[in-house]
Protein backbone atom coordinates (compact mmCIF):
# COMPACT_ATOMS: atom_id res chain seq x y z
CA UNK A 1 0.00 0.00 0.00
CA UNK A 2 1.39 3.39 -0.96
CA UNK A 3 1.44 6.32 1.45
CA UNK A 4 1.28 10.08 1.01
CA UNK A 5 0.50 13.13 3.12
CA UNK A 6 -1.29 16.37 2.19
CA UNK A 7 -1.94 19.60 4.06
CA UNK A 8 -5.55 19.45 2.95
CA UNK A 9 -7.65 16.71 1.44
CA UNK A 10 -11.00 17.54 -0.14
CA UNK A 11 -13.43 14.67 -0.54
CA UNK A 12 -15.57 15.29 -3.59
CA UNK A 13 -15.02 17.16 -6.87
CA UNK A 14 -18.49 18.67 -7.24
CA UNK A 15 -19.25 22.39 -6.93
CA UNK A 16 -18.47 22.52 -3.19
CA UNK A 17 -15.29 20.47 -3.39
CA UNK A 18 -13.89 22.37 -6.39
CA UNK A 19 -14.67 25.73 -4.75
CA UNK A 20 -13.08 24.61 -1.48
CA UNK A 21 -9.96 23.30 -3.19
CA UNK A 22 -9.52 26.48 -5.20
CA UNK A 23 -9.99 28.80 -2.22
CA UNK A 24 -7.45 26.83 -0.18
CA UNK A 25 -4.95 26.46 -3.03
CA UNK A 26 -5.18 30.19 -3.82
CA UNK A 27 -4.25 30.72 -0.18
CA UNK A 28 -1.11 28.62 -0.59
CA UNK A 29 -2.26 25.21 0.58
CA UNK A 30 -1.29 21.99 -1.18
CA UNK A 31 -4.57 20.22 -1.84
CA UNK A 32 -5.56 16.72 -2.87
CA UNK A 33 -9.08 16.30 -4.27
CA UNK A 34 -10.43 12.75 -4.15
CA UNK A 35 -13.58 11.79 -5.98
CA UNK A 36 -15.53 8.56 -6.32
CA UNK A 37 -16.84 9.47 -9.77
CA UNK A 38 -14.96 8.80 -13.00
CA UNK A 39 -15.05 12.49 -13.98
CA UNK A 40 -15.17 15.71 -11.93
CA UNK A 41 -18.22 17.96 -11.52
CA UNK A 42 -20.32 16.08 -8.99
CA UNK A 43 -23.82 15.23 -10.18
CA UNK A 44 -24.84 18.67 -11.44
CA UNK A 45 -21.85 18.90 -13.76
CA UNK A 46 -21.49 15.17 -14.27
CA UNK A 47 -19.61 14.40 -17.43
CA UNK A 48 -16.65 16.62 -16.61
CA UNK A 49 -15.22 19.65 -18.44
CA UNK A 50 -16.13 18.29 -21.91
CA UNK A 51 -19.81 18.48 -21.03
CA UNK A 52 -19.64 21.70 -18.97
CA UNK A 53 -23.02 23.35 -19.62
CA UNK A 54 -22.02 26.97 -18.97
CA UNK A 55 -19.30 29.45 -18.10
CA UNK A 56 -19.85 28.91 -14.41
CA UNK A 57 -19.10 25.20 -14.69
CA UNK A 58 -16.06 25.85 -16.87
CA UNK A 59 -14.75 28.34 -14.30
CA UNK A 60 -15.25 25.78 -11.54
CA UNK A 61 -13.41 23.08 -13.47
CA UNK A 62 -10.45 25.40 -13.94
CA UNK A 63 -9.57 24.67 -10.29
CA UNK A 64 -8.24 21.32 -11.48
CA UNK A 65 -5.53 23.12 -13.48
CA UNK A 66 -4.24 24.83 -10.33
CA UNK A 67 -0.57 23.98 -9.68
CA UNK A 68 -1.26 23.26 -6.00
CA UNK A 69 -4.28 21.01 -6.61
CA UNK A 70 -3.92 17.29 -7.29
CA UNK A 71 -7.02 15.38 -8.36
CA UNK A 72 -7.75 11.67 -8.24
CA UNK A 73 -10.99 10.30 -9.73
CA UNK A 74 -12.23 6.78 -9.10
CA UNK A 75 -11.09 6.99 -5.47
CA UNK A 76 -13.09 5.05 -2.92
CA UNK A 77 -12.60 6.06 0.70
CA UNK A 78 -13.23 2.98 2.81
CA UNK A 79 -11.81 3.64 6.28
CA UNK A 80 -10.38 6.26 8.63
CA UNK A 81 -8.31 4.18 11.04
CA UNK A 82 -7.04 7.08 13.14
CA UNK A 83 -6.84 10.87 13.35
CA UNK A 84 -5.47 12.38 10.16
CA UNK A 85 -5.49 9.13 8.19
CA UNK A 86 -7.68 7.86 5.39
CA UNK A 87 -7.60 4.53 3.60
CA UNK A 88 -8.56 4.86 -0.02
CA UNK A 89 -8.84 2.41 -2.89
CA UNK A 90 -7.54 3.91 -6.12
CA UNK A 91 -7.74 2.24 -9.52
CA UNK A 92 -4.17 0.96 -9.06
CA UNK A 93 -4.67 -0.28 -5.50
CA UNK A 94 -4.93 0.71 -1.86
CA UNK A 95 -3.47 3.93 -0.51
CA UNK A 96 -2.94 5.32 2.98
CA UNK A 97 -3.32 9.10 2.98
CA UNK A 98 -2.40 11.48 5.77
CA UNK A 99 -3.97 14.91 6.08
CA UNK A 100 -3.66 18.03 8.19
CA UNK A 101 -7.17 19.19 7.42
CA UNK A 102 -10.09 17.64 5.65
CA UNK A 103 -13.08 19.10 3.80
CA UNK A 104 -16.07 16.84 3.25
CA UNK A 105 -17.85 17.73 0.03
CA UNK A 106 -19.51 14.37 -0.39
CA UNK A 107 -22.72 15.69 -1.92
CA UNK A 108 -26.12 14.08 -1.83
CA UNK A 109 -27.99 11.14 -3.18
CA UNK A 110 -31.63 10.78 -4.08
CA UNK A 111 -34.41 9.87 -1.72
CA UNK A 112 -36.30 6.85 -2.96
CA UNK A 113 -39.70 5.76 -1.76
CA UNK A 114 -40.94 2.26 -2.51
CA UNK A 115 -43.98 1.56 -4.68
CA UNK A 116 -45.05 -1.69 -6.32
CA UNK A 117 -42.80 -2.44 -9.28
CA UNK A 118 -40.04 0.02 -8.39
CA UNK A 119 -37.37 -2.68 -8.71
CA UNK A 120 -38.10 -3.35 -12.41
CA UNK A 121 -35.31 -2.52 -14.86
CA UNK A 122 -36.34 0.71 -16.55
CA UNK A 123 -37.25 2.37 -13.26
CA UNK A 124 -34.46 4.79 -12.42
CA UNK A 125 -33.86 7.58 -10.01
CA UNK A 126 -34.80 11.01 -11.36
CA UNK A 127 -31.36 12.57 -11.10
CA UNK A 128 -30.22 9.00 -11.60
CA UNK A 129 -31.59 8.87 -15.12
CA UNK A 130 -30.06 12.27 -15.83
CA UNK A 131 -26.69 11.07 -14.53
CA UNK A 132 -26.90 7.94 -16.67
CA UNK A 133 -27.86 9.96 -19.76
CA UNK A 134 -24.88 12.26 -19.22
CA UNK A 135 -22.74 9.12 -19.23
CA UNK A 136 -24.09 8.10 -22.63
CA UNK A 137 -27.01 5.92 -21.52
CA UNK A 138 -29.35 5.68 -24.54
CA UNK A 139 -32.49 7.79 -24.15
CA UNK A 140 -33.12 8.93 -27.74
CA UNK A 141 -36.60 7.93 -28.86
CA UNK A 142 -37.45 6.44 -25.45
CA UNK A 143 -40.86 7.20 -23.95
CA UNK A 144 -40.06 8.57 -20.52
CA UNK A 145 -42.14 9.62 -17.52
CA UNK A 146 -40.47 11.73 -14.84
CA UNK A 147 -41.92 11.76 -11.35
CA UNK A 148 -40.85 13.25 -8.08
CA UNK A 149 -40.55 16.76 -6.80
CA UNK A 150 -38.87 20.10 -7.19
CA UNK A 151 -36.97 21.91 -9.93
CA UNK A 152 -34.93 18.78 -10.67
CA UNK A 153 -37.93 17.46 -12.63
CA UNK A 154 -37.53 20.29 -15.12
CA UNK A 155 -33.75 20.04 -15.27
CA UNK A 156 -33.88 16.31 -15.98
CA UNK A 157 -36.57 16.76 -18.63
CA UNK A 158 -34.34 19.36 -20.29
CA UNK A 159 -31.33 17.03 -20.34
CA UNK A 160 -33.33 14.11 -21.71
CA UNK A 161 -35.20 16.14 -24.32
CA UNK A 162 -31.93 17.57 -25.61
CA UNK A 163 -30.79 13.97 -26.13
CA UNK A 164 -33.84 13.04 -28.15
CA UNK A 165 -36.03 11.44 -25.49
CA UNK A 166 -39.82 11.61 -25.70
CA UNK A 167 -40.72 12.96 -22.27
CA UNK A 168 -44.40 12.12 -21.81
CA UNK A 169 -45.17 13.62 -18.42
CA UNK A 170 -43.67 15.46 -15.46
CA UNK A 171 -45.46 14.30 -12.30
CA UNK A 172 -44.86 16.72 -9.40
CA UNK A 173 -46.05 15.39 -6.06
CA UNK A 174 -46.52 18.82 -4.47
CA UNK A 175 -49.89 20.55 -4.90
CA UNK A 176 -50.21 23.45 -7.33
CA UNK A 177 -50.69 26.01 -4.55
CA UNK A 178 -47.31 25.35 -2.99
CA UNK A 179 -45.54 25.23 -6.35
CA UNK A 180 -47.17 28.54 -7.35
CA UNK A 181 -46.14 30.20 -4.07
CA UNK A 182 -42.59 28.94 -4.57
CA UNK A 183 -42.52 30.33 -8.11
CA UNK A 184 -43.84 33.71 -6.90
CA UNK A 185 -41.16 33.78 -4.17
CA UNK A 186 -38.45 33.49 -6.80
CA UNK A 187 -38.58 37.27 -7.26
CA UNK A 188 -36.16 37.35 -4.32
CA UNK A 189 -33.83 35.14 -6.35
CA UNK A 190 -33.92 36.72 -9.81
CA UNK A 191 -31.17 34.54 -11.28
CA UNK A 192 -33.13 31.44 -10.30
CA UNK A 193 -36.29 32.96 -11.75
CA UNK A 194 -34.62 33.63 -15.10
CA UNK A 195 -33.32 30.05 -15.12
CA UNK A 196 -36.78 28.66 -14.37
CA UNK A 197 -38.43 30.72 -17.11
CA UNK A 198 -35.85 29.66 -19.71
CA UNK A 199 -36.20 26.03 -18.66
CA UNK A 200 -39.98 26.11 -18.79
CA UNK A 201 -39.95 27.63 -22.27
CA UNK A 202 -37.69 24.83 -23.53
CA UNK A 203 -40.13 22.28 -22.14
CA UNK A 204 -43.31 23.67 -23.70
CA UNK A 205 -45.59 20.87 -24.76
CA UNK A 206 -44.57 18.47 -22.01
CA UNK A 207 -47.44 18.12 -19.50
CA UNK A 208 -46.49 19.20 -15.96
CA UNK A 209 -49.01 17.92 -13.42
CA UNK A 210 -49.06 18.82 -9.74
CA UNK A 211 -50.45 16.57 -6.98
CA UNK A 212 -49.28 13.65 -9.12
CA UNK A 213 -47.27 10.54 -8.43
CA UNK A 214 -46.69 6.99 -9.61
CA UNK A 215 -48.83 4.33 -7.95
CA UNK A 216 -47.39 1.24 -9.58
CA UNK A 217 -44.91 0.16 -12.25
CA UNK A 218 -45.51 -3.05 -14.16
CA UNK A 219 -44.01 -5.11 -16.94
CA UNK A 220 -42.47 -8.46 -17.71
CA UNK A 221 -38.75 -8.37 -16.89
CA UNK A 222 -38.74 -4.58 -17.48
CA UNK A 223 -40.92 -1.51 -17.16
CA UNK A 224 -43.79 -1.38 -19.64
CA UNK A 225 -46.59 0.52 -17.96
CA UNK A 226 -47.24 2.94 -15.10
CA UNK A 227 -50.35 3.53 -13.07
CA UNK A 228 -50.40 7.12 -11.85
CA UNK A 229 -52.45 9.39 -9.70
CA UNK A 230 -52.81 12.90 -11.06
CA UNK A 231 -54.83 15.47 -9.23
CA UNK A 232 -56.95 12.78 -7.58
CA UNK A 233 -57.65 10.80 -10.75
CA UNK A 234 -55.99 7.58 -11.84
CA UNK A 235 -54.63 6.64 -15.22
CA UNK A 236 -52.17 4.45 -17.11
CA UNK A 237 -49.22 5.41 -19.30
CA UNK A 238 -47.16 3.01 -21.40
CA UNK A 239 -43.48 3.96 -21.33
CA UNK A 240 -39.92 2.67 -21.57
CA UNK A 241 -38.30 4.47 -18.66
CA UNK A 242 -39.42 6.08 -15.42
CA UNK A 243 -37.17 8.56 -13.63
CA UNK A 244 -38.47 8.84 -10.09
CA UNK A 245 -37.12 10.12 -6.78
CA UNK A 246 -38.26 12.44 -4.03
CA UNK A 247 -35.65 15.03 -3.31
CA UNK A 248 -32.10 14.63 -2.04
CA UNK A 249 -30.44 13.28 1.08
CA UNK A 250 -27.03 14.43 2.31
CA UNK A 251 -24.26 11.82 2.03
CA UNK A 252 -23.19 11.71 5.66
CA UNK A 253 -21.46 8.31 5.86
CA UNK A 254 -17.96 9.73 5.68
CA UNK A 255 -18.73 12.38 8.27
CA UNK A 256 -20.16 9.72 10.57
CA UNK A 257 -17.13 7.52 10.04
CA UNK A 258 -14.96 10.41 11.21
CA UNK A 259 -17.15 10.97 14.26
CA UNK A 260 -18.73 14.23 13.09
CA UNK A 261 -21.99 15.20 14.76
CA UNK A 262 -25.08 15.18 12.57
CA UNK A 263 -28.05 17.54 12.75
CA UNK A 264 -31.30 17.02 10.85
CA UNK A 265 -29.73 14.28 8.77
CA UNK A 266 -26.78 16.39 7.62
CA UNK A 267 -23.22 16.96 8.85
CA UNK A 268 -23.45 19.73 11.44
CA UNK A 269 -21.14 22.71 10.85
CA UNK A 270 -20.39 26.04 12.52
CA UNK A 271 -20.27 29.45 10.81
CA UNK A 272 -16.91 28.56 9.25
CA UNK A 273 -18.19 25.21 7.96
CA UNK A 274 -16.17 23.34 10.59
CA UNK A 275 -17.69 20.10 11.85
CA UNK A 276 -17.64 18.90 15.45
CA UNK A 277 -14.20 17.44 14.65
CA UNK A 278 -11.45 20.10 14.73
CA UNK A 279 -9.81 20.48 11.33
CA UNK A 280 -12.61 18.64 9.56
CA UNK A 281 -14.89 20.88 7.50
CA UNK A 282 -17.98 20.16 5.42
CA UNK A 283 -19.55 22.06 2.55
CA UNK A 284 -22.40 21.72 0.11
CA UNK A 285 -25.18 19.15 0.15
CA UNK A 286 -23.44 16.99 2.77
CA UNK A 287 -24.27 19.64 5.38
CA UNK A 288 -27.75 20.45 4.09
CA UNK A 289 -29.55 20.26 0.74
CA UNK A 290 -29.48 23.64 -0.96
CA UNK A 291 -28.20 23.46 -4.51
CA UNK A 292 -25.21 24.74 -6.40
CA UNK A 293 -25.12 28.34 -5.11
CA UNK A 294 -25.01 27.26 -1.50
CA UNK A 295 -22.50 24.52 -2.33
CA UNK A 296 -20.03 26.86 -4.01
CA UNK A 297 -20.24 29.52 -1.31
CA UNK A 298 -19.89 27.00 1.51
CA UNK A 299 -16.99 25.43 -0.35
CA UNK A 300 -15.21 28.77 -0.55
CA UNK A 301 -15.86 29.47 3.13
CA UNK A 302 -14.54 26.04 4.13
CA UNK A 303 -11.46 26.43 1.92
CA UNK A 304 -10.66 29.89 3.28
CA UNK A 305 -11.26 28.85 6.88
CA UNK A 306 -9.09 25.74 6.48
CA UNK A 307 -6.36 27.93 5.00
CA UNK A 308 -6.45 30.26 8.02
CA UNK A 309 -8.27 33.19 6.40
CA UNK A 310 -11.40 33.55 8.54
CA UNK A 311 -11.85 37.28 7.79
CA UNK A 312 -12.24 36.58 4.11
CA UNK A 313 -14.51 33.66 4.81
CA UNK A 314 -16.69 35.96 6.92
CA UNK A 315 -17.30 38.25 3.95
CA UNK A 316 -19.16 35.41 2.26
CA UNK A 317 -21.63 34.91 5.11
CA UNK A 318 -24.37 37.18 3.64
CA UNK A 319 -24.22 35.39 0.28
CA UNK A 320 -24.48 32.06 2.08
CA UNK A 321 -27.51 33.28 4.06
CA UNK A 322 -29.18 34.26 0.78
CA UNK A 323 -28.46 30.85 -0.74
CA UNK A 324 -29.75 29.09 2.36
CA UNK A 325 -32.96 31.14 2.14
CA UNK A 326 -33.53 29.65 -1.30
CA UNK A 327 -32.88 26.18 0.16
CA UNK A 328 -35.47 26.76 2.89
CA UNK A 329 -38.07 27.82 0.32
CA UNK A 330 -37.36 24.71 -1.72
CA UNK A 331 -37.72 22.42 1.28
CA UNK A 332 -41.01 24.00 2.30
CA UNK A 333 -42.55 24.08 -1.17
CA UNK A 334 -41.61 20.52 -2.10
CA UNK A 335 -42.11 18.74 1.22
CA UNK A 336 -43.49 15.26 0.71
CA UNK A 337 -47.20 14.51 0.68
CA UNK A 338 -48.14 11.79 3.20
CA UNK A 339 -49.79 9.69 0.48
CA UNK A 340 -46.32 8.90 -0.89
CA UNK A 341 -45.48 6.95 2.25
CA UNK A 342 -48.41 4.58 1.74
CA UNK A 343 -47.65 3.29 -1.76
CA UNK A 344 -45.73 0.15 -0.81
CA UNK A 345 -47.70 -3.06 -0.41
CA UNK A 346 -46.69 -5.72 2.15
CA UNK A 347 -44.69 -7.58 -0.51
CA UNK A 348 -43.03 -4.46 -1.97
CA UNK A 349 -39.25 -4.68 -1.55
CA UNK A 350 -37.56 -2.13 0.69
CA UNK A 351 -34.02 -3.55 0.63
CA UNK A 352 -33.09 -4.26 -2.97
CA UNK A 353 -29.74 -5.84 -2.13
CA UNK A 354 -31.24 -8.56 0.06
CA UNK A 355 -34.81 -8.59 -1.33
CA UNK A 356 -36.48 -7.70 1.98
CA UNK A 357 -40.17 -6.77 1.68
CA UNK A 358 -41.98 -4.21 3.78
CA UNK A 359 -43.91 -6.86 5.73
CA UNK A 360 -40.69 -8.44 7.01
CA UNK A 361 -39.64 -5.09 8.49
CA UNK A 362 -42.99 -4.26 10.05
CA UNK A 363 -42.47 -6.90 12.71
CA UNK A 364 -39.08 -5.43 13.69
CA UNK A 365 -38.72 -2.78 16.36
CA UNK A 366 -35.45 -1.17 15.29
CA UNK A 367 -32.99 -0.82 12.44
CA UNK A 368 -30.59 -3.10 14.28
CA UNK A 369 -33.23 -5.79 14.74
CA UNK A 370 -34.21 -5.47 11.09
CA UNK A 371 -30.60 -5.99 10.05
CA UNK A 372 -30.15 -9.00 12.30
CA UNK A 373 -33.45 -10.71 11.46
CA UNK A 374 -33.97 -9.84 7.80
CA UNK A 375 -30.52 -8.79 6.48
CA UNK A 376 -32.09 -5.47 5.49
CA UNK A 377 -29.29 -3.00 4.81
CA UNK A 378 -26.60 -5.68 4.89
CA UNK A 379 -25.98 -5.87 1.14
CA UNK A 380 -23.61 -4.14 -1.21
CA UNK A 381 -25.05 -0.64 -0.78
CA UNK A 382 -24.84 -1.00 3.01
CA UNK A 383 -28.24 0.48 3.67
CA UNK A 384 -27.69 3.67 1.69
CA UNK A 385 -30.91 3.07 -0.25
CA UNK A 386 -33.15 1.21 2.20
CA UNK A 387 -31.96 2.89 5.42
CA UNK A 388 -33.60 6.26 4.73
CA UNK A 389 -36.77 4.49 3.57
CA UNK A 390 -36.94 2.44 6.74
CA UNK A 391 -36.48 5.66 8.70
CA UNK A 392 -39.23 7.48 6.80
CA UNK A 393 -41.73 4.62 6.64
CA UNK A 394 -41.11 2.81 9.91
CA UNK A 395 -39.43 5.39 12.12
CA UNK A 396 -36.23 3.40 12.57
CA UNK A 397 -33.41 5.49 14.04
CA UNK A 398 -30.73 6.67 11.62
CA UNK A 399 -27.87 4.35 10.89
CA UNK A 400 -24.30 4.61 12.01
CA UNK A 401 -21.47 4.05 9.63
CA UNK A 402 -18.61 1.60 9.91
CA UNK A 403 -15.65 0.56 7.82
CA UNK A 404 -15.30 -0.54 5.13
CA UNK A 405 -17.53 2.28 3.90
CA UNK A 406 -17.63 0.68 0.47
CA UNK A 407 -16.93 -2.81 -0.77
CA UNK A 408 -13.18 -3.06 -1.41
CA UNK A 409 -11.04 -5.89 -2.71
CA UNK A 410 -9.55 -8.30 -0.19
CA UNK A 411 -6.13 -7.42 -1.59
CA UNK A 412 -6.66 -3.76 -0.69
CA UNK A 413 -7.98 -4.62 2.76
CA UNK A 414 -5.06 -6.87 3.60
CA UNK A 415 -2.50 -4.38 2.36
CA UNK A 416 -4.24 -1.65 4.39
CA UNK A 417 -3.87 -3.45 7.71
CA UNK A 418 -1.11 -2.07 9.81
CA UNK A 419 -0.09 -3.09 13.34
CA UNK A 420 -0.62 0.49 14.51
CA UNK A 421 -4.31 0.57 13.58
CA UNK A 422 -6.86 0.13 16.33
CA UNK A 423 -8.89 -2.95 15.45
Amino acid sequence: MTEARFELIVLGAGPAGLAAAKAAADSGREVLVLDDNPLPGGQIWRGGPDQAPNARARAAFSALQHPRIAYRPGARLFAAPGPGTLLVELPEGGCRLGYGQLILATGARERFLPFPGWTLPGVFGLGGLQALAKGGYPVAGKRIVLAGTGPLLLAVADTLKARGARVLLLAEQAPLGRVARFAAGLVRHPAKLAQAVALKSRLLGIPYRCSSHVLEASGRERLERLRLSWGGEEGFIDCDYLGCAFGLLPNTETGQLLGCTLAAGAVAVDDYQQTSRPGVYAAGEACGIGGVDKAQIEGRIAGLAAAGRPEEARRLFPARAHARDFADRLAEAFRLEPALLRLARPDTLICRCEDVPLQALQSCSSWREAKLLTRCGMGACQGRTCGPMAETLLGFEPRGSRPPLQPVSLETLVSALSPTDPR
Binding site: D50, R109, G135, G136, Y137, P138, A380
Partner: protein, 86 residues
Amino acid sequence: MPEAVIAELPIRLNGETVRVPAGITVAAALALAGQQALRLSVKGAPRGPLCGMGVCFECRVTIDGRRHERACQRLVADQMEILTHD
Protein backbone atom coordinates in the same frame (compact mmCIF):
# COMPACT_ATOMS: atom_id res chain seq x y z
CA MET B 1 -21.50 13.54 -26.02
CA PRO B 2 -20.47 15.76 -28.91
CA GLU B 3 -22.48 15.05 -32.08
CA ALA B 4 -19.44 15.03 -34.35
CA VAL B 5 -17.39 11.95 -35.11
CA ILE B 6 -17.31 9.80 -32.01
CA ALA B 7 -14.36 7.53 -31.58
CA GLU B 8 -15.28 3.93 -30.96
CA LEU B 9 -13.43 1.28 -29.09
CA PRO B 10 -13.84 -2.46 -28.68
CA ILE B 11 -14.89 -4.00 -25.40
CA ARG B 12 -15.58 -7.64 -24.50
CA LEU B 13 -19.08 -8.12 -23.21
CA ASN B 14 -19.85 -11.58 -21.81
CA GLY B 15 -17.22 -12.94 -24.18
CA GLU B 16 -18.36 -11.12 -27.31
CA THR B 17 -16.54 -8.17 -28.81
CA VAL B 18 -18.70 -5.08 -29.35
CA ARG B 19 -17.69 -1.58 -30.44
CA VAL B 20 -18.98 1.28 -28.30
CA PRO B 21 -18.44 5.05 -28.26
CA ALA B 22 -15.43 6.17 -26.23
CA GLY B 23 -16.09 8.24 -23.13
CA ILE B 24 -19.33 6.56 -22.07
CA THR B 25 -19.95 4.60 -18.90
CA VAL B 26 -20.02 0.84 -18.76
CA ALA B 27 -23.72 1.08 -17.85
CA ALA B 28 -24.34 3.04 -21.06
CA ALA B 29 -22.31 0.59 -23.14
CA LEU B 30 -24.30 -2.33 -21.76
CA ALA B 31 -27.61 -0.60 -22.47
CA LEU B 32 -26.48 0.18 -26.03
CA ALA B 33 -25.73 -3.52 -26.42
CA GLY B 34 -29.28 -4.29 -25.31
CA GLN B 35 -28.50 -5.19 -21.70
CA GLN B 36 -30.71 -3.20 -19.38
CA ALA B 37 -30.83 -5.87 -16.66
CA LEU B 38 -27.31 -6.39 -15.35
CA ARG B 39 -27.79 -8.82 -12.52
CA LEU B 40 -30.29 -11.10 -10.82
CA SER B 41 -31.38 -10.28 -7.29
CA VAL B 42 -30.94 -12.79 -4.46
CA LYS B 43 -34.43 -14.09 -5.29
CA GLY B 44 -33.76 -14.15 -9.03
CA ALA B 45 -35.45 -10.97 -10.26
CA PRO B 46 -33.74 -8.93 -13.01
CA ARG B 47 -32.22 -5.62 -11.91
CA GLY B 48 -30.79 -2.69 -13.79
CA PRO B 49 -29.20 0.63 -12.86
CA LEU B 50 -31.16 2.77 -10.39
CA CYS B 51 -29.24 5.65 -8.84
CA GLY B 52 -26.81 6.33 -11.69
CA MET B 53 -24.26 7.79 -9.28
CA GLY B 54 -22.57 4.94 -7.49
CA VAL B 55 -24.76 4.65 -4.41
CA CYS B 56 -27.15 1.72 -4.91
CA PHE B 57 -24.85 -0.94 -6.43
CA GLU B 58 -27.73 -2.29 -8.54
CA CYS B 59 -25.59 -2.01 -11.69
CA ARG B 60 -22.72 -4.04 -10.34
CA VAL B 61 -20.84 -6.17 -12.85
CA THR B 62 -17.45 -7.83 -13.12
CA ILE B 63 -14.88 -5.68 -14.91
CA ASP B 64 -11.49 -7.12 -15.86
CA GLY B 65 -11.92 -9.82 -13.24
CA ARG B 66 -12.93 -7.47 -10.43
CA ARG B 67 -16.38 -8.23 -9.05
CA HIS B 68 -18.85 -5.67 -7.69
CA GLU B 69 -17.70 -2.87 -9.96
CA ARG B 70 -20.39 -0.24 -10.47
CA ALA B 71 -21.17 0.02 -14.19
CA CYS B 72 -22.40 3.62 -13.74
CA GLN B 73 -19.11 4.77 -12.19
CA ARG B 74 -16.68 3.30 -14.72
CA LEU B 75 -15.89 4.56 -18.21
CA VAL B 76 -15.32 2.07 -20.98
CA ALA B 77 -11.73 1.32 -21.91
CA ASP B 78 -10.11 -0.42 -24.86
CA GLN B 79 -10.52 -4.22 -24.58
CA MET B 80 -12.27 -3.95 -21.22
CA GLU B 81 -13.74 -7.35 -20.18
CA ILE B 82 -17.23 -7.05 -18.72
CA LEU B 83 -19.34 -9.86 -17.30
CA THR B 84 -22.93 -9.25 -16.27
CA HIS B 85 -25.00 -11.34 -13.88
CA ASP B 86 -21.98 -12.02 -11.65
